[in-house]
């Protein structure tokens, strides 16, 4: 093995260690805050904490709920990873989920619904719709310079209202009900383990993980995308059409978001479309992508841990007096800590004691030039 390869491996290993340490610290801090909040607010804090920490793994049913969450968190995490790696802050996964779900619902409720083609066509339609929804802000950014954050967020609201409207007017089961008819059995993802909500979606999520990893790290498109994300101007000088890469990254992420929509409505959980079915899951992908440092292979791992926490909070909500919304605070703390370059208190002192070179202390000066 050559020296460079060894060095590369060493640096990769130390990066991995540093990132893991950072993620673990952030999660520990977040858990500590949760514990304090629960202790302060609950009448039976120990029961609440016990539910939060052990309930998701206690029964096959709850394990099913957990892994259903993991699959969905993985896909939204991948979608955010793709755009974050291109350094685009498109936040449109939520809207893509809604349009994707609408598209797959139209397929499932059409004459195709009862046939074997319902699942593949439903997923394909959802991906197309999601890709279109991701393409719009991408194109507006590349051609017109329109801020992708604002436009993608606006498209989220448009998609939600569109879904509300179509479900109320066209897809409803009967007047006054805000859900559609049950999809035909052939249009609902088959469960992998009978009696749980673990379904085809989990496989889709794993396939998507591998595909995104392959696209990002083993194709020239991925290399270009990462270059554009690293330094768009440099990429431009290197002859890469950065706007084309940006648009394609946002479109691909949109396809993932659309697929997630199909996973929602065609999955075991629903098997029909309702209004506001997504429940804010899309934005959890930001957390997953950040903690995973936008690395596709790390996304499912983060999703497993975070999905556990989410299900724990849901069960705590049902069984005890602590609302599940406490998880929002936890999410925010993790995002803040992981995305910032915090160092543990006393680290400088420690490294001084052990004779290592301390971090240079010019924090405030160089941040301004960014």
């Amino acid at each position: 093995m050559s020296t460079t390869a060894i060095l590369a491996r060493q640096s990769r290993w130390s990066t991995f260690r540093k990132e893991t340490l950072r993620a673990v610290t952030a999660i520990a801090v977040a858990l500590l805050v949760t514990i304090i909040v629960v202790l302060l607010t609950s009448k039976a804090p120990l029961e609440a904490l016990n539910t939060l920490l052990t309930a998701p793994a206690s029964k096959p049913r709850t394990i099913g709920l957990w892994f259903d969450d993991v699959a969905k968190l993985t896909v939204t995490g991948l979608a955010f990873s793709l755009v974050f790696q291109a350094r685009q802050f498109a936040l449109g996964v939520q809207g893509q989920i809604y349009v994707g779900a609408l598209a797959s619902s139209y397929v499932a409720l059409s004459p195709i619904g009862p046939t074997f083609a319902a699942i593949p066509l439903g997923i394909a339609a959802a991906m197309l719709a999601g890709a279109a929804w991701g393409f719009i802000p991408g194109l507006a950014k590349a051609k017109l310079g329109a801020n992708e954050i604002v436009s993608s967020l606006m498209l989220n609201y448009i998609a939600i209202e569109l879904c509300n409207f179509l479900v109320r007017v066209q897809l409803r089961e009967r007047p006054g009900v805000l859900t559609s008819l049950k999809f035909p059995d052939a249009a609902v993802f088959p469960p992998l383990i009978p009696g749980t909500r673990i379904d085809l979606g989990l496989i889709l999520a794993l396939v998507a993980t591998v595909l995104v990893w392959f696209a990002l790290y083993r194709t020239s498109w991925g290399l270009k995308l990462r270059l554009v994300g690293h330094n768009a101007r440099f990429a431009e000088y290197a002859g890469i059409k950065s706007s084309l890469i940006m648009v394609s990254a946002m479109t691909a992420a949109g396809a993932l978001g659309g697929m997630l929509g199909a996973m929602f409505v065609q999955g075991q959980t629903y098997g029909k479309i309702t209004v506001l079915f997504e429940g804010g899951l899309a934005f959890e992908g930001i957390l997953v992508a950040i903690v995973a440092r936008s690395r596709p292979l790390a996304v499912p791992v983060v999703a497993i841990f975070y999905g556990y926490l989410r299900q724990g909070a849901q069960l705590m909500n049902i069984r005890t007096d602590v609302p599940a919304e406490v998880i929002g605070v936890v999410t925010a703390i993790i995002i803040l800590l992981v995305s910032s370059s915090f160092s543990m208190p006393g680290k400088k002192w420690l490294s001084a004691q052990f004779g290592r070179r301390a971090q240079p202390a010019g924090l405030s000066a160089d941040g301004a030039a960014k």
Binding site: G145, L153, R233, E325, G328, T331, I335, S339, A369
Partner: protein, 316 residues
């Protein structure tokens, strides 16, 4: 159609538009200050939402003006949190902003449930107060236009008047005071003010604090005048619309005012249209402000890009 026209031309609609515009305008001005200092404040939505809840809860125990100030302070604190994480700890400001939005969306529901004893939807059980409308009915004694003046100017929230004044004050601050020049310089090209000895990060931090305070004030108006009480996610994207309005208003206070008025008018329209047309789908009407934002954003970005090209600057 004639009814719609008559409604829009009526003074009642004007009052509605002022009411719907005020929170948007306050948030837009907040977004403007942060944006000019070079820090995009995507947390406006969360800051507004926390401002709403803080104002409502404080108003149960204190007079309305204390509650309004509490809403303002809550927004300012969130702005400070943003500044600490983004400037001191070098986190990406957009991620920090989103973390604050997520915290606000969950945290307000959590805090609401704690404050009301389990109700996670609305603060209907809390006896919260409202901002009293400013009564200008003495203008009615002016002969001729008196009644018109009263119907147009009387009955607005104090904060509407403050917001209108702030447009002027912020314009004066930005374009007529040295600190405003610093702020714009920091946003335009940080290396130059840095070399001139201006504390770049301090300017940005203050901008974020003021930005959060204005968003919090907008939240107080929303929860203590437009609606009295708190409901989960009651800001419903207004913070993001404000972000669009900043860009749409050419990053200028007067532009911000016009953009906020545009969105306020559409929101007002969404309020009155279902009453006029029974079969008009409410969802599609609620969609209008968002569609308008996107179209306006695209149009404006296109014009800005063309202007740059005409000046011979190659866009990055």
């Amino acid at each position: 159609m004639i009814e719609l026209f008559a409604t829009i031309m009526s003074s009642a609609f004007f009052v509605t538009v002022i009411r719907t515009t005020t929170p948007l305008l306050l948030a837009t001005l907040g977004g403007l200050i942060a944006d000019l200092s070079g820090a995009l404040n995507v947390a406006l939505e969360g800051q507004m939402l926390v401002g709403c809840l803080t104002a409502v809860i404080v108003s149960v125990y204190a007079p309305w003006y204390v509650a309004v100030l509490a809403g303002l302070a809550a927004g300012a604190v969130l702005g400070l949190v943003m500044a600490i994480f983004a400037l001191r700890l070098k986190a990406d400001i957009i991620l920090v902003g989103f973390a604050i939005n997520i915290m606000a969306a969950g945290g307000t529901v959590f805090a609401l449930a704690m404050a009301t004893g389990g109700d996670k939807g609305t603060s209907i059980n809390l006896a919260s107060k409202a901002i009293p409308p400013v009564d200008l009915s003495f203008l009615g004694v002016i002969p001729g236009i008196g009644p018109l003046l009263v119907s147009l100017l009387s009955g607005h929230s104090v904060l509407s008047w403050i917001a209108a004044f702030l447009v002027f004050a912020i314009w004066y601050f930005l374009y007529r005071m040295p600190w405003g020049l610093w702020l714009r310089g920091v946003g335009e090209y940080p290396a130059a003010p840095e070399a001139a000895g201006i504390p770049v990060n301090a300017v940005r931090a203050w901008s974020l604090v003021v930005s959060g305070a204005l968003a919090g004030l907008g939240g107080a108006q929303l929860a203590m005048f437009n609606y009295v009480g708190f409901a989960r996610d009651m800001t419903a994207g207004r913070g993001f619309i404000a972000l669009g309005a900043v860009l749409l208003g050419a990053r200028h206070p007067v532009g911000a005012l016009l953009a906020a008025l545009l969105f306020g008018a559409f929101e007002g329209l969404a309020v009155v249209m279902p009453g006029l047309f029974a079969d008009a789908p409410a969802e599609l009407i609620r969609m209008i402000p968002f569609v308008v934002t996107i179209l306006a954003l695209m149009l404006f970005s296109y014009r800005a890009q063309r202007a740059l090209k005409l000046r011979g600057v190659k866009s990055a």
